[in-house]
Structure formats: structure tokens, C-alpha cells
Amino acid sequence: MVNLTIDGRAIQAKPGSTILEVAKENGIFIPFLCYHPALKPIGSCRICVVDVKPGPPRPIPACATTVTEGMEVVTDTPRLAALRQELMKLVLINHALECPICDKGGECELQNMTHALGVSTVDLEAVKLPPNPDYVSQMVERHPDRCVTCGRCVRVCRDRVGAMAINFTLRGYFTELASGAQPLDCEFCGSCIDICPVGALINKQFKYRARAWDMVKTEIACPFCGGGCTYQVHTKDGKILRVVNEDSVLLCGRGRFGWPVVEADDRLKTPLIKENGNFREASWDEALDLVAAKLTETVEAGGAKAVYGVGSPRATNEANYVFQKFFREGLATNQLDNPGRYNYARAIKAMAEVFGTPKLEGLEIGSALVPPYHSPLVVKEAATGSGFPFVLGKLADLPKADLVLVVGTDVTPESPPLGWGLMEAKDNPNFRLVMANSRKTKFDRYAHLSVRYKPGSERVLIAGLIKFFLADNPDWVPAIKAAGLDEFKDSIKITPKEITTKTGVEEATLKELAALLAQAKAPAIVFGSEVMSQDKGQQTALALADLFLLVGQPDAPGSALYPVAEKNNSRGVSEVGVLPDMGPGYMPVEGTDAGPTLEEMLDLLEHDDAAAPKALYLLGGDLLRSLPHRSRTKKLLKKVPFIVVQDAFLTDTAKLADVVLPVAVHAEQEGTFISSTGQLGLINQALPTNGVRPDWQIISQLGTKMGFALKSVSPKAIFKELAKKMPLWAGLAPKLSAPCPEIKAMVSGKFVPFEVDISLPGRRPYTLIIGKSLQHSGSFTTHHPGGTLAVTGEAFLKINPEDAQSLELAPGEVVKVISSYGEIAAPVKLTADVPAGVVFLPEHFAAPAANNLTLNSNLVRVTIQKG
């Protein structure tokens, strides 16, 4: 610790912190304008100047000066006050006096600072500059005449988001906020809006809708991707007006602008019952009675196993827990699964094979009362844990990794927080980023090594990598206690020539990557749904788990596996036990047989097996939209005599249902999510439900009607009950990540050989990759009037310009995309981001529905024909 005095007060500070940080921590006021805790200081506004002894005879900026031993800081003298006032006047010379209409009025740092510094008049004059406002860009409106050139937006965009969409033009007094062109060409994350101390950048959704002091703030976990951000929703009169992340400012576009989904025109408001092929509106009691009667009837006719449930990666942990309780305790079956079976659950299975299922010891139920949403399990001093959750990374640790290997994911669209983590990691000069993907993604611009492999060849790539790695480091001993390395080594039979032909990656590139992995002190592996959604996604995840077992350094913070969970609660739905073979906390089911997986259940339906379900209970999850091979899914679901769907919208799957129960979404409910990186996110209810009901309540009421005592009275009570059964969540509380760092991780693993067969069936010339687009999260964000729908309103087929030339396609032209399983029409976008022979289509939209083309994977061979 460093000892210093500020205004005569003796203070101890962490070495490396700046005077401003230390003063803020100790409640000493130093005014500032260009400083922001999320950014590196640049000391440009000079308003934070302080006198420092020993030091130069002039004041120095507190934000950019680190504390040293024996430093004496004086923050307030008449000279400093005069300097600050003068600087403030310079900022205010021609500042547009639009406070009455400026959305920032009331929360404007310039207003506050002007008051704090007592600047009442500006006696300086300068030439007036043209206002040059930008009204044409989406989402963001720019007013350069209100800009104080603090550079926060430029820095957050460049250093934290990595979009580099805004910059300054001109110099000195004429410096102006610009982007080179109007409209803005950016990711539309809106982080610049909230970091702007004034109203130079404002939120178009929020413009003129309320004043800063009018709104009620409620903190919720973001319900879009698995990133696990928390933000405040600002509501007025029961309506959301904006969302703001007051902690780190950073949010992605769908997080910040996607909330209008709550007010979507096509939200369901009452339960629907299908009669003679048409839906009619019904009361809750009527609908629930019908469902209860039908399910009871089905159980009586075909046994409890005739009912099958599909949980939801969007619903809260509490809802999913009650859902599995409904099946396990109510019906006493394991006939349930979640749609993560087609992506995230594959990674779980693979990791569990290599690292084992979680086992924790040394926990006890605490005697003290715990606050709501805190785990009642207390971690004792000698607590230990093993199993795959202990090799899963935490978000805060990612920047501590010194090598990140990103395989098969476009990081920012899939999980923006991981992208911010990579941007932060980049601050470390020793950090190395390796991007392995079939197409060029955003982070390739920061990559030290880009590996461009043929779609679907990940396993060969990793096999090759492991082969070269072991060839270069024959005496390598994995840092993790690992069994079966020798057998595993022998199981990789692929030759270097095969590797190059199958993956299209040069041997030298792989050797370079192997060398980087061998040098790394804290390597992390990030992989996403483009890997997991393939039919052999589990094998690829297995290969990556093996690779991590080989090179991972679990004692080094940041060295971990980061599988990207697609949706807000993809990880939670599995953790609370919506799996056919594992209960809450990945505990293997005892006493009863494991049920069929979602895939197996569909196969049973296909074969008209006697064990095929006679009734389906779908908790959200638009299976038609999200599962591959849409026509097959549709055909199979039509075979089920009775389907209940709980969803906020009349989705394509819901249209096949017999009863549809409308649910609360976003801030209309209370509950928790587990993010992709294990963080517990808490949603507090901020909005009225307007007649719809939260998922947990519907299941619980249905249970009561069917005579099951689910004893679920509130999300808080459900969490308490649930958390008792979750050793993995010991010590967990909102904003903390599981597993608790106090638990000593005893990670060990065994190498499991994986398949390297990578054939993609068919002879069609192009390989279509179906993936994520930046502004959307599943189909959740595609309902009008969706916020980000304005930015990305339709799906484009991304195609290489060379391919487009050979097919004589113009940008925007609608083409026919034909696979052996279906056909769709989509407009094309020419981009060199996809290599020749590869095309890319986002999965989110109802039209073109990309899964019309697929069989069992997100990859498919297609033919492209002119419209």
C-alpha cells in the first residue's frame, strides 16, 4: 500500500491507482469531465488538476497521475478554483443553451460541474460554430454543438467496444464529433450515449420521452443473450423508456434498444384454446382447467410417460425448476429436456465426459437467515470441488488470460460481454488472440493469428493442433491432473497432409498456434454455437475439452473454457435440472430411468413408437424456428395429440398447439438467470403484467389443479428451495458467479478420443453456415416494433463477391437457396468476410427461415440460383 495525504488526510491507497480514484474512494471531491472509470485516463479536460508535492510547481491532472509514497495532494486552493473556473468557461463558450430540451438535462455532468465550480457567467467570446446535428443515424442522434470534446465516446468505441465508429475531426476549438459520414456506420450498441457527459449523443428511443428525474429505476438482468449483463430499466407510468448500465456503461444494441419487445404488437394477452382448428380467447381458469384435464386424461390413458416437457432457456431458473419439479415430483418421470440439447447441452455433455460431473464437499446449510436470492449453502474453509464447472471461465477473469483461442464463434453477436472482455484483455501487451473461424468476424482485426478453416472441419483442426503440439513438446505434462494421454496420443491418427486438405489450414499456421499454446501461461478457449450446433457438436466440444485438458492452466485466473450459452438462461436451464438424465445441480437422477432427450423424443415420434409422447408441454422454445430441419419438426409435432405452449407470442410452434398460455417477459417478472459465465442475474419486476402471468406461476397453478403439491408461492421461495439443492451454487448471490472462488477446485480429467470424420453430406457447391447476427437474439427481437429491428430488419445471405460475380448477382438481389431438404429465397449481401464457396445466413427471422434448409446441423450444402 502507498501512504499519501489528500487535503491533509492520511490515506492508504493501492499502488498503481490514480489520485482521482483514491480521492473518489475516500469521498474527496475532485471535479472532472473527461475521466470515466470504464476508460483509461487521458487528462485532456484538465479540470481535475491538483497541487502535488513533491512534484512540478504547476498543478497536474489527478486522473492521470498515479499515487506515490509520501505524496501530498491538495485538491482545493484559490488558484485551482480559478483555473478550473477558467477551463469551465472555455468549455462553455459556445455550448448550446438547450438544457430545457436536452435529454441529458438533470443528469448532465456539465450542468453539475458548472454548479459545483460556481461558474455563473461566461465572459469569453468565440466565433459561433455550425451545429451540424445528425438526425439520420439509427438509434443515436448526435449534436456536435453540445459536445465538450472529452473524447469519452471515441475512447469507449475504440478501446472497449472495438467498433471505432466515431472520431474527432478538425483541431483545437474547431474539434468536432464526427464519423466521417452520416449516417453512422456502427454496431449501434449505444454505449457512447451513456458515456457522454453531456447531451451530444442521445438515445433516439428515449428522445423527449421523459426528464432524467421522472423515472423509476429497477435493476434487472438482461433477458437477451447469455452474457449476463445487468442494467437499470427506467420506467414511467408502467412503461419502459430506456435501459442504462450504470456500472460499466457497456451494453450491446439488443440489450439497450431491444426492450420494445415487451410492447410488441403481437404479444399474447389472454390464453388461447384451439377449437376446430382456430384459436379462441379464453380465461385463465378455463385454459388451465382444460390443460389439467387433458394432461390427467393422457396420464390415465398412457401412463405418466406419455407427457413430455421441454424447458426454456429464456425462462427464469425458478420457472424451469418448478417445471422439472412438475415432471419429477408431480408426474414422477424424467420425460423432459431443454432446447439447449441442440447446442449448449452438447458442450456440457462433452465437458462432463472429460472433466467429470460436479462433486462438491465441505458445504453446509447456514444457520443464519439469508437475504432473498442468496444461496443458503455456506462454503466451509476446507470446501473442495471437482468436475467441469470448475474449468468454466468467469467473465471477470477473461481479461486475465494471456492467450484466447476463439473457435467457431462470432464473439460480439453471440456474447457481447465476452467481446468486451477480449478488448480489455488486449490492454495487456503480452496478450495473444487467435481467431479460428470459417469466416472473418469482427475480432479478426485484433487477432494475432487468424485461422480460416473449411466449415465443419473444427475437429480435424484441433486433432492436428494437438498432434503438432505434442510433436513439438514430447515431454509435455498437462497442468491439470489428466489420465490417458498416451492412449489419446495414439488415437490421433490423422496425417499432416490430411489435416491441410480437410481444413484448408497450412501446417505452419497450426504449428504457430501450437507454439503459442505451449508458451501461454493462462490460455482460454472460447467456443460458440457455430461449433455446438453442428450435428457432431458434442464431438467438437469434446475435442476442445481435450485440448484444454492438455494446455489449460486452471490455477492461472482466466485460463478456462468459455462455451457461449446462446440464450439468457441456456446455462441455468440445464443447471436447475431440465435434463432427462440429470436433476438440479447436474445430479444424476436416482431411482427412475432417464427419459429420452429432445432428439430421441422426436425420433420416437418419427417411428410412431409406443413410447412416443401423447402430450407435449413446451415452456417457450419455438422448436419449429430453432431446431434444424423445420419440415420434419413440423410433421412430428403435428403427430402429438395435445400440445400446450407457454409463450409470449403466437410463434410457429404455438400455432400447432392446442392451448397457448401467455407469459410475462423482460421486466414483467421476477426471478434469476445464470449467464454463460455462471453469473447469477436477478430480475426485479418493473412493469405490470397486464393479464399475462409469469411462467413459474402458471406451472404452479397447473400443478395445483392436477393435485400436485409443488408448494411454489413466489420466486423468492422457489429460489430458496432450489438453491438448497444446488451445491454448485454455494455462496452464490446476485452478480456473483458460480462456483464460489472460496471452493478449492480439484480439477482432474481424462482424455477422451473424439471422432475426426467431418463429412458434410451432399454435392451442392456452397456450404451454408447459419449463425447469429449482431442486433438479434433468437427470434425474440424480431417482433414489431422491435428496437433493433430498425437496424437489422431482414436477413441477408452473405456471399463472397467472387461467387456473386460467377453467379452474376447484384447486391440486394433475391436468390433461391436450395438444399436437399428445402428451399428459401433471400436477398444477398456481397462481402469478403465469407470465403469463396461459403455463404452465411442469420437464423433469427421468420422469413427466410434458415432452418428450412438444414438436416441436423447449422451447416448444409446448398445451391444458389438467381431469383
Binding site: C99, P100, I101, P133, Y208, R211, W213, D214
Partner: protein, 143 residues
């Protein structure tokens, strides 16, 4: 004893022939001071448009919650203007804080004082009712 009586009669006599200080109200109206605090109203520009930019400062400062429901919208020139504005004269205490807080001189207390109504609803002014140009006509239904 008679003298005070006579003094009184003298005063009466004097007043009987001087200009009366009472008014034949309501036929005659009292001219009030320029600084009279009547009820708040929205002022207009020369072109007839309201000066208000819906900053809501008057609503914030109003001690009796007489000003409410200010809803703003975006004009074609991207400016801000109110589409709804309610002044509840039942609640107004004529303190003039709104006038003081307004950065645009858009709300002022006028010099009207005949505010009694049989129907309370007439005292809740919507944006049109609260706007200056029409304020003269507003109380025609008085008694």
C-alpha cells in the same frame, strides 16, 4: 354626545357627493395591478405558437401539484414541444413559482381573477385551455 353623531353625518354627507370607491361588480370590473397573480397560462409567440418546450421544470417546482401530465413530442424541425399539458386551477395556489422556473418565459400568471365555477371540471385546463390567446374567452360562462 351629539358632536360625534354630527361628525358621522358630515362624513356621510361628504361621501355622498364624492366619487364612490366601490365598483358596480360584476357589471364593472376592477383593473388589477400589472403584477397581479392570476392563474398560470402558456404564453405564445408572435406567430401564435406556444413558447413551451415541455422541459417540465414548472411541474417540478409546483408546490401544490397543479401542473401535471406534460407530454412532449418531437416537431418536424426536431424541436421539443408539448402535446399535453394540464393546469389544475383547483390546486393552483397562485404562487408564481412556475413563472419563475420557466427558462423560456412560456408560462406566466395572467391577471384574471374570476375563477369561481359551478363545474369543477372547467377548472382543469388542458393544453388548449391553458394557452394564452384563448384565455380571454374562457370564462364567458361565468354565472
Amino acid at each position: 354626545m351629539i358632536i360625534p353623531l354630527l361628525k358621522g353625518l358630515a362624513t356621510t354627507l361628504k361621501m355622498a357627493f364624492s366619487k364612490p370607491i366601490t365598483l358596480q361588480y360584476p357589471e364593472e370590473k376592477r383593473e388589477v395591478s400589472q403584477r397581479w397573480r392570476g392563474h398560470p397560462e402558456l404564453t405564445i409567440n408572435d406567430d401564435g405558437g406556444r413558447r413551451c418546450v415541455a422541459c417540465t421544470l414548472c411541474m417540478v417546482v409546483c408546490p401544490s401539484n397543479a401542473i401535471k401530465a406534460i407530454v412532449a413530442d418531437e416537431a418536424e424541425d426536431h424541436g421539443k414541444y408539448p402535446v399535453a399539458f394540464t393546469i389544475d386551477l383547483q390546486r393552483c395556489i397562485f404562487c408564481g413559482f412556475c413563472q419563475e422556473a420557466c427558462p423560456k418565459g412560456a408560462i406566466k400568471l395572467n391577471r384574471l381573477y374570476e375563477l369561481a365555477q359551478y363545474d369543477k371540471k372547467l377548472l382543469i385546463l388542458d393544453i388548449e385551455g391553458a394557452t394564452q390567446s384563448k384565455s380571454q374567452l374562457r370564462l364567458g360562462d361565468w354565472l
